[in-house]
Symmetry: C2
Subunit: 473 residues, 2 copies
């Protein structure tokens, strides 16, 4: 390994482990050269490497710093959903979104598919291809209904990064996170029960609530700190809530990471009222900070947290591999998973297990989360420049979607239709409410198209708004 | 094509299209030689080909005949299940069956996995491997939630063989037939509803009933004609049944094909009482007669039949590709399929579509159903020779499982445990009842092990029974 790479490694480690904090000034080039007995240009090269990884930033005439979190003074408002349990509607709109044909859409800001063109996925695809060629018969038979043992072992190792101690027997592999959420909802509740959710909330989770004959109670949610614990406690006092379903780490659609003390407080609340927490961690590994934040599951003393995740956002949705660590609900989860779809295809599980074991997954995540962080800043910049001044927007701490709140006169249901006619797809806000609220909001992704295309999409949206509401500009 | 192959083709066509019926004498060798202007040995070669396909049988000194259905004078009794709707139990036993480790089991008669070693599957595996090598990116993204269009087109063509007119938009692809059944149950009913089923009944269907918070009403079922329409009508008069779930073509576990007039009558009954029929056709293409019998769905005038099937029994369960033709319930089915597991992996769907399009599936089915028919006779022979005289057994008209009814003093739950200790796995009868009935029955498969191993398994079972009940021999 070259000298500069070695030095970059050491600095990266110090930053990632919090030895230097956001905003801290880093040692000067001269200081490091002396300390490590290397040349000035070697230190400069090391800093340049870390700059491309966004771990340091150069300030002219001041030196190198650990970047602070960008300050955001135009956050969306804390949500104010209806204060009673309701049946979920909006399926027609979800179906519409899911049926969107790429052929008609040049600029796709509506979906939440990851970037799947990165070279760090090559080893996985290669091993999947090799498995199909060398061991096609491995994929033919019925496999373990809990999932392939090699994958479950790797998943229990991966869980350490989110602070969870899982045995491979605690893990049940599913057909993606959608099945995980659906199975967990059915495992912890009976028809008619009430599930508390964040508001806005991922539409797939709400549709699973609807299909399981449950009612959704949307809880006010802050765009940077997550579900309001005060509002949740009031709701728990008022309604016989059976479980809380949350996405606390790199939330979809808001992008926040719930602070750790709030995660702990949420867990304590669940304990106090003796209810289950279904924790959707699908974007958890895509937070931009390192090490990744701990999951609520990390604080689980009595098995009431059902952690759901998948490789759909970190690797590729087409893998259809997700999982559940269901704590005390493991047996119910195993039963419902079996009746839902029997076992999952074996070869993708084996290939993913190998990808994890050989470090390919870590390499991929390290690369892709930097890409997403860069794309976030680009998209935020385009929004700031082109959209109405009064537009509010989240600054995600992970994942690859953000949430836009337009001035109230903008109707995103209409805007979505108009944008579609111009080849731009966005996800209208009402998808993320059980009852069609958030009609002046939308979700935009910044994962798998170029910054140029995204900017072009934003410009088209701006023009459409301008045509109806010139006063906003 | 050689002369004998051409002649065999012509004779095969005549037999398969019913020009010669079961039991009919076929033209003599001399007669055919004269008619077709070919040599005696050519005709003999053609007949030998058809003999290996079990389409003709030679009777010494009498000539060649179309085989009659083997007569069966020791059929199991018509079932007499409890006459009220009940909660399904037996999950522990099902889990036990599913968790069976091949490592501990030399002779596997318990599962219902097809023979996956046949060469006719090679083109499918080859194209799946090619797809993974040449177009790995096709498998990465979210696909159509209704299933890949090419596969749905091929499935609508395949449906013609079972008498069904389906448009590709009528078809929703699922993760195997288990998901299909589970989705259909949830689409046609609400928690607490009653579903009428055959008795004995496939355990996976019953566990899906349990998980959907439904009640099962088991209906008496004849081992050769299927569900009793008289008993069903009485039940319909007495209970608010929401749907009937049946496997009328190559039933699991009994193996019968419900006669076509009874299928029609069942459909009329459903019309009269205005309820849905969930038709499990998973073994339908594996019936030993040609052309295959029509599905109940073929008589569906008003979209009340939800046809469920998959490639798990015809090709390989590890493919995890099934489908639903849901008639008037299509929209509900699409919704529940989406929340259950989002879409299915794309590459297996494309590979299967190609397998169907190029005729590989037809070739495979033609070969494998003959293999199964031969194995059925071998297993029936072994049962007749080794098991107690009073043992009753079905003679399946398709698929690869049969049902054994021992004298009442034999407890198959105990027998299953004992056999397992000797490396033989069987599926105990109580798995196939909602409430643990059929304790003197078991299901045996004859798909994927050798006749020698199956015979050895039967001998071990016979010894175990003999040790406890010497009087039975």
């Amino acid at each position: 390994m070259s000298l500069y790479a070695e030095l970059a490694d050491r600095l990266r480690e110090h930053i990632e482990h919090g030895f230097y904090k956001p905003g801290d000034k880093l040692p000067s080039v001269r200081q490091l050269a002396t300390e490590h007995g290397v040349s000035i240009s070697t230190v400069q090269e090391a800093y340049r490497t870390l700059e491309t990884e966004r771990l340091v930033e150069a300030k002219p005439k001041s030196g190198y710093f650990v970047p602070s979190q960008p300050h955001n003074d135009n956050l969306p408002h804390t949500s104010r959903p209806p204060q009673r349990p309701l049946d979920v509607s909006q399926w027609e709109q979800v179906l519409n979104l899911l049926s969107n044909r790429p052929a008609n859409t040049r600029i796709q800001l509506q979906h939440a598919a990851p970037d799947m063109t990165v070279s760090t996925l090559t080893p996985l695809l290669k091993s999947l291809s090799d498995l199909h060629r060398q061991h096609p018969d491995w994929g033919l038979g019925y496999g373990d209904i809990r999932g392939h043992i090699e994958l479950r072992e790797q998943l229990s190792r991966l869980a350490v990064a989110s602070g969870c101690q899982l045995h491979h027997d605690d893990v049940v592999v599913t057909s993606g996170c959608q099945e995980a959420l659906s199975v967990c909802l059915r495992a912890v509740s009976a028809p008619g029960d009430i599930i508390a959710i964040e508001s806005p909330c991922f539409y797939g989770a709400m549709q699973a609530i609807k299909a399981a004959n449950l009612k959704a109670l949307e809880i006010p949610t802050h765009p940077e700190h997550g579900i309001s614990l005060e509002a949740l406690q009031l709701a728990l006092d008022q309604w016989p809530i059976k479980a809380i379903l949350v996405t606390p780490t790199a939330n979809n659609p808001l992008g926040y990471v719930m602070p750790e003390d709030k995660k702990q407080a949420l867990y304590k609340l669940a304990q106090e009222y003796d209810i289950a927490i279904i924790e959707d961690d699908i974007y958890g590994d895509l937070t931009y900070e390192f090490p990744r934040p701990r999951a609520i599951k990390a604080f689980d003393e009595d098995g009431r947290v059902l952690l759901c995740s998948s490789f759909s956002k970190t690797v590729a949705p087409g893998m259809r591999v997700g999982w559940i660590a269901a704590g005390r609900y493991r047996d119910q989860v195993t039963h419902i998973k079996y009746v839902s779809s029997s076992m999952c295809p074996t070869l993708s599980q084996i290939a993913l297990a190998k990808f994890l074991r050989l470090g390919g997954y870590d390499r991929h995540i390290r690369k892709i989360r930097n890409t997403y962080a860069t794309s976030r800043d680009q998209l935020l910049q385009a929004i700031k420049i082109h959209l109405p001044n009064a537009t509010r927007v989240t600054c995600p701490a992970g994942g690859f979607v953000l949430w836009v709140e337009f001035p109230p006169e903008v109707d995103t249901t209409k805007l979505t239709e108009q944008a579609q006619e111009h080849g731009v797809a966005i996800a209208s806000g009402s998808l993320f409410s059980a009852t069609g609220k958030y009609r002046s909001c939308c979700r935009l992704n910044y994962s798998d198209q170029t910054a140029e295309l995204r900017t072009e999409g934003i410009k088209i949206i701006a023009q459409l708004i301008k045509a109806e509401h010139p006063n906003l500009f």
